[in-house]
């Protein structure tokens, strides 16, 4: 009982906070409202949630046994980047959802990084079927206000303010951020040649209003795209993007998680819940529904299932919308009377945004990181760790982690060297990633390769476009091209030219 009351108060407080940012006409009308409740205002408008319980199924080659969110991206683990982004936007507290088994490891590695945010870990069970929506449902009771959901694999320098402002201005239920894709387009995937098909989302956005009409994976539909007529009907124009990248940064209303909590059969956020919510934009408060429910079977649940039951849209809100001077359309009521509203905001063209969710993008971000580091993080963070020993004189755009030893007489370009790795003299390393504790012996030439954790390259090897798995030992004098060498797939070792 007490908890419920508290929730109610905080939700009102959060709402009043939101209201402060709305356009003038609304604020004026809300003035009384604010005065009444301002005593109970809390300090936070948005909570932030970072989802880091992913298993990285698309990075099997490089993952080894560590969690996905600890993949090294330059000097820091992957999860540091979204956390740093949130801290840049003055978030002081972030909920990080991790798998139970990984919590300690993540905690430990984040302690070594400079971060100003307070991290509140939420653990989910180590269940392989646990989706992102499940994770959110799991932390349901920690969400007290409108909130941001950020995936742990986003590396970006984008400003979230345009996104948040769109969310505020249109009183949106959801706003998401889109990046230009193609960051990794000029990088060749090492390992055996496979037909790499980037996953693409088809995203429909109404040109004038930035309203989301649909979003789904291109692989989900067959040869034709089926577009419902009502999506086009009132709006006339619809932009369909096939090459934008969903950043997995969502701003959501508090009520959305209540609704998600109810919809127990939904397991993933992006794949199932997001399209569901977008579809529900056209849901209408039906006048018929009240008498109908009593006559039908299974009545009680039906009302609860209706999304409009959850939307905090009061009669006052409705009046405000009607009287507000703000309207995007000349001939229709604002938003066509839709209560659930989803928007998409495109990041500026020069913004950097990469999702490190597969091996290719992992390689791409690491190779290019030194070049974009200045834009991404500013000067605050050095690329060559003070604890590293770099004796090499011929280096260009390299990133060296703590305690790595790069010997003299080496030529090292566009590469990343993980903690405790050792590069012996007389080596040439270009466009590659040498992960933690790996050893490269003398006289090797490594180009466009990923050398896994604790792998060992014996002297005289020439590797081109190769994936070397964790703990693998490349024999002396090996000359390989476009191969994946690992202990896991024994059969791969046979094929050495």
């Amino acid at each position: 009982m007490a908890l419920g009351r508290q929730c109610w108060l905080t939700s009102i407080a959060a709402r009043t906070a939101v209201l402060r940012f709305r356009c003038c006409s609304r604020v004026l009308a809300y003035l009384n409202y604010i005065i009444i409740f301002s005593i109970k205002m809390s300090s936070c408008e948005f909570q932030a949630v970072v989802l880091a319980a992913g298993r990285g199924t698309r990075l099997p080659e490089v993952l080894g046994d560590s969690p996905k969110c600890l993949l090294p991206v330059g000097p820091y683990p992957l999860i540091w980047y979204p956390l740093n982004m949130l801290s840049r936007h003055n978030f002081t507290e972030v909920i990080v959802v991790v798998q139970e088994q990984d919590k300690l490891e993540i905690q430990l590695s984040l302690e070594h990084t400079p971060l100003k945010v307070k991290i509140d870990y939420a653990t989910v069970p180590n269940d392989s079927d646990f989706g992102t929506a499940d994770s959110l449902r799991y932390i349901y009771d920690r969400i007290k206000s409108d909130f941001l959901v950020v995936s742990c694999d986003i590396v970006s320098n984008v400003s979230l303010y345009p996104l948040i402002n769109k969310f505020r201005a249109d009183d949106a239920s959801l706003a998401l951020l889109l990046f230009k894709s193609g960051f990794e387009s000029d990088v060749v995937m090492p390992g055996p040649k496979t037909k790499y098909k980037p996953e693409r989302d088809m995203i429909g956005i109404h040109t004038a209003t930035q309203r989301l009409a649909f979003i789904f994976a291109a692989s989900d539909c067959e040869d034709t795209l089926n577009i419902k007529r009502h999506l086009l009907k009132n709006k006339g124009q619809l932009d369909v993007y096939g090459r934008l990248l969903d950043a997995h940064i969502y701003v959501l209303k508090k009520w959305v998680i209540n609704y998600l909590h109810r919809k127990e059969q939904i397991s993933t956020f992006k794949g199932e819940f997001l399209p569901h919510l977008i579809r529900k934009q056209h849901a209408r408060r039906s006048t018929k529904i009240a008498p109908d429910t009593t006559s039908e079977l299974g009545v009680g649940t039906k009302h609860e299932d209706n999304i409009l039951h959850y939307v905090t849209h009061t009669a006052l809100d409705q009046k405000l919308t009607q009287t507000s001077l703000f309207n995007q359309s000349l001939s229709h009521i604002p938003y066509h009377g839709d209560v659930v509203r989803c928007f998409a905001v495109q990041a500026p063209k020069d913004a950097i945004g990469v999702r490190v969710n597969n091996t290719l993008s992992f390689l791409a971000i690491n190779r290019k990181l030194a070049g974009i580091w200045q834009e991404l993080c500013g000067d605050a963070h050095p690329l060559i760790s003070p604890g590293a020993v770099v004796k090499s004189t011929q280096t260009k755009d390299i990133i060296v982690a703590d305690n790595a030893k790069l010997s003299e007489k080496t030529s090292l370009n566009f590469s990343v060297f993980g903690p405790n790795c050792i590069v012996h003299p007389k080596n040439i390393v270009t466009n590659s990633i040498i992960m933690a504790n790996a050893i490269v012996e003398e006289g090797c030439n490594i180009n466009n390769c990923i050398i896994g954790y604790r792998a060992q390259i014996k002297s005289g090897s020439v590797l081109n476009n190769c994936l070397i798995g964790p703990n693998y030992v490349v024999e002396e004098g090996t000359k390989s091209q476009a191969l994946q060498l690992s202990n896991a797939d024994q059969y791969m070792e046979i094929d050495i030219q």
């Binding site: 419902k228 007529r229 009907k233 993007y241 056209h282 849901a283």
Partner: protein
């Protein structure tokens, strides 16, 4: 090419685009000369070109060539406003059978020297096409494969469909057309199917749903040669489709421009759009193409009064009679007690006492006698309508018709003599007479859709069986779209509510529908279909009763029956049962099964409006073909709830009575035999 002289702006006007749609008036003269608000359509097109700075026009016509030549000559002699600074050539011939032929002929004659404006003779526009032409030239400089730039106009998406509406997809960066679909008239799609490749091969594609095609285009010289190279291109739509499909092969691309909001453009391709465009011209949307501007011969013909009333000085009519949106030509006479609204009265018409005219279009010299009620109709020149006639809902009277007194007509086409119909090699169709010189033209028989491809008329393939006719227009597009959207949204919600419950029955049903649709399409062996259905049945553990019920439901759930061509659901059902009858009768054997079958029909009635309307015929059909027995129908009928299924019972009552009767007859017959 401009070495010798300044490049002159050329344009091509294609007449006779939609001849079939303007029956019966199209049988009596060129459609290009059809008067629209008392000015022939060709003049509107010529003025539009003149206003866009065109210097040389080729009017391409295939029918009534001499009439058009004469009209042009008369226009030049009378100093028509288009005759200044513009030369007009009339070319063409009877050999030309379609738009594509016209283009090929133009190519052969090598009359076109550069980029040209291509317009239908039935287009009414006040747009300045010069910027569009300039843009086309810029695009052509950048992309050598530019074949054409199509010009479209935004419209309200809730409006009446006239067959000009389009759904297109355009590359957002360079306005290249990537997908083109003409929306069918009198049909509302619930969803659009667009090939995925369109979106995958372009980074951003804008879908435009609210566009009208006014039949305006800017053509490159290559457009003509493309028509010559591809002799199967018949219409402009063929051309667009062909280029989109074989984009790389033909190395040609089409670009799109939208007219600015202030400019008007519409194509008059059938009677419905004739009514719409007349309304727009009268209410001055097409300014300066309005009646009082002396559109055609630079002299003030009308005085413009408030409420959009245009009255000629020489018209004898009291002002009270004219309510709003009326144009009345010189020499016309309207008697007392008559009210006219939203109408166009041609020259020298006489309208008797106490008539009511609403949305009526009278050509020259029409005589309407007393006490007539006319709504939404077109009366050809020198026709006579006698006393107490009631003509409504899209009637069209050809020239010189005489309607006898007390005639009641709705939705019919009337011609003055039985022989004027263009039947060509077809056998003479006997026309129903309603008077000595009034014969009903059946627009359903004249244009069999199967023949339409082979027929010589220049009709586009999109025409449906029935000519779109005038009707009551929704006055407020907004209100309409809002209310329909809300109802539709509810539908959507309901369907959505249904979809998340893919219980076994629904999956089974959808699988059966899939099997049957495929079987129907590919005409596969019914035995295989039965096997398929049975395997589905065991997969979802359906009882026999459910199978019976769902098989029948599935037959009626096939797309061909849900959305039958021309809304002719009975024909669709007949076709379906012809193919799938053995499958159905495999399940519907016992009387219980028949009852299941009829119960399924009851369900279908609620979902499918078309079937609901024809339910008694459908049941009768099933009875005829021995799918259901008489007893089953009786039993079903008696089980129908009196209140809940009142309408269903009502529509079946006649059939049941008939069954009763015939069975009694049978009994009698039996008695006689004994």
């Amino acid at each position: 090419m401009s070495q010798f002289q300044k490049e002159i702006v050329q344009a091509v006007l294609i007449a006779d685009n939609n001849v079939w749609n303007f029956k019966p008036l199209s049988d009596e003269g060129s459609t290009a000369l059809l008067p629209l608000v008392n000015v022939s359509m060709l003049d509107y097109a010529l003025i539009a070109l003149n206003r866009s700075g065109v210097e040389e026009v080729f009017v391409y016509a295939s029918l009534y060539l001499q009439d058009i030549r004469d009209h042009i000559k008369r226009g030049i002699a009378a100093y028509a406003s288009w005759s200044f600074k513009m030369t007009v050539h009339v070319i063409g011939g009877e050999g030309c059978r379609c738009f594509g032929d016209a283009m090929r002929d133009l190519d052969a004659k090598a009359l076109i020297r550069g980029n040209f404006i291509l317009l239908g003779a039935d287009t009414v526009t006040n747009a300045d096409l010069r910027p569009v032409l300039e843009q086309h030239k810029r695009t052509a400089k950048f992309d050598k494969g530019t074949a054409a730039t199509l010009v479209f106009k935004e419209c309200a998406s809730g409006a009446e469909r006239t067959g000009n509406e389009l759904l297109i997809a355009v590359d957002k960066q360079n306005t290249r057309l990537v997908y083109h679909q003409r929306l069918r008239a009198n049909h509302k799609e619930s969803r659009y199917h667009i090939p995925l490749d369109v979106f995958l091969s372009n980074s951003c594609v804008t879908l435009h749903h609210n566009l009208l095609d006014p039949q305006i285009a800017i053509g490159s010289p290559s457009m003509l040669s493309l028509f010559s190279d591809n002799f199967d291109f018949q219409t402009r739509d063929d051309f667009v489709r062909g280029l989109l499909i074989n984009e790389e092969l033909l190395d040609s691309r089409i670009y799109v421009t939208l007219l600015p909001p202030a400019q008007y453009a519409h194509k008059v391709n059938n009677w419905l759009s004739y009514q719409l465009v007349s309304r727009d011209i009268i209410s001055r949307w097409a300014h300066p193409l309005v009646p009082d501007m002396g559109v055609y011969n630079l002299q003030q013909q009308y005085v413009f009064y408030k409420d959009n009333i245009y009255k000629s000085h020489e018209a004898n009519v009291s002002k009270v009679a004219l309510q709003e949106n009326v144009v009345i030509q010189a020499g016309s006479h309207v008697d007392v007690g008559t009210t006219i609204s939203c109408s166009v009265i041609g020259a020298n018409c006489r309208i008797g006492k106490n008539c009511q005219l609403n949305n009526v279009f009278l050509m020259a010299n029409v005589i309407i006698h007393d006490n007539c009620q006319l709504r939404h109709c077109v009366i050809g020149s020198t026709s006579v309508v006698h006393e107490n006639c009631n003509i409504s809902a899209g009637c069209v009277l050809g020239a010189k018709c005489v309607l006898p007194a007390n005639t009641k007509l709705a939705n019919t086409l009337v011609t003055s003599s039985p022989s004027t119909q263009r039947t060509e090699e077809q056998e003479q169709v006997e026309l129903e007479a309603i008077g000595p010189s009034a014969y009903i033209v059946n627009d359903l028989t004249t244009g069999d859709p199967d023949d339409s491809d082979a027929e010589d008329t220049l009709l586009p393939q999109t025409t449906t069986l029935c000519i779109p006719k005038m009707c009551e227009l929704q006055q407020l597009a907004n209100v309409d779209s809002d209310c329909s959207s809300s109802s539709e949204d509810e539908d959507e919600d309901e369907s959505r509510a249904a979809t998340p419950l893919p219980d076994d029955t629904n999956i089974f049903l959808s699988e059966v529908i899939d099997s049957l649709s495929r079987g129907f399409r590919e005409k596969s062996n019914p035995d295989f279909l039965i096997l398929e259905i049975n395997s589905s049945r065991y997969a979802y553990n359906m009882s026999l009763k459910e199978v019976n019920f769902n098989v029948v439901k599935a037959v009626f759930g096939m797309e061909s029956i849900i959305e039958p061509p021309n809304n002719n659901v009975l024909a669709a059902i007949n076709a379906a049962f012809k193919q799938l009858g053995p499958v159905v009768s495999n399940y519907i054997k016992s009387e219980d099964a028949m009852l299941d079958c009829l119960k399924a029909l009851e369900d279908i009635c609620e979902e499918n409006e078309l079937v609901r309307e024809k339910i008694s015929q459908v049941v009768h059909y099933l009875y005829d073909k021995d799918f259901v027995s008489e007893d089953a129908i009786h039993k079903w009928y008696s089980q129908l709830d009196v209140q809940e299924h009142a309408t269903l019972r009502q529509s079946l009552a006649k059939l049941v009575d008939w069954l009763n009767q015939s069975s009694e007859d049978d009994d009698d017959g039996d008695d006689d035999d004994e």
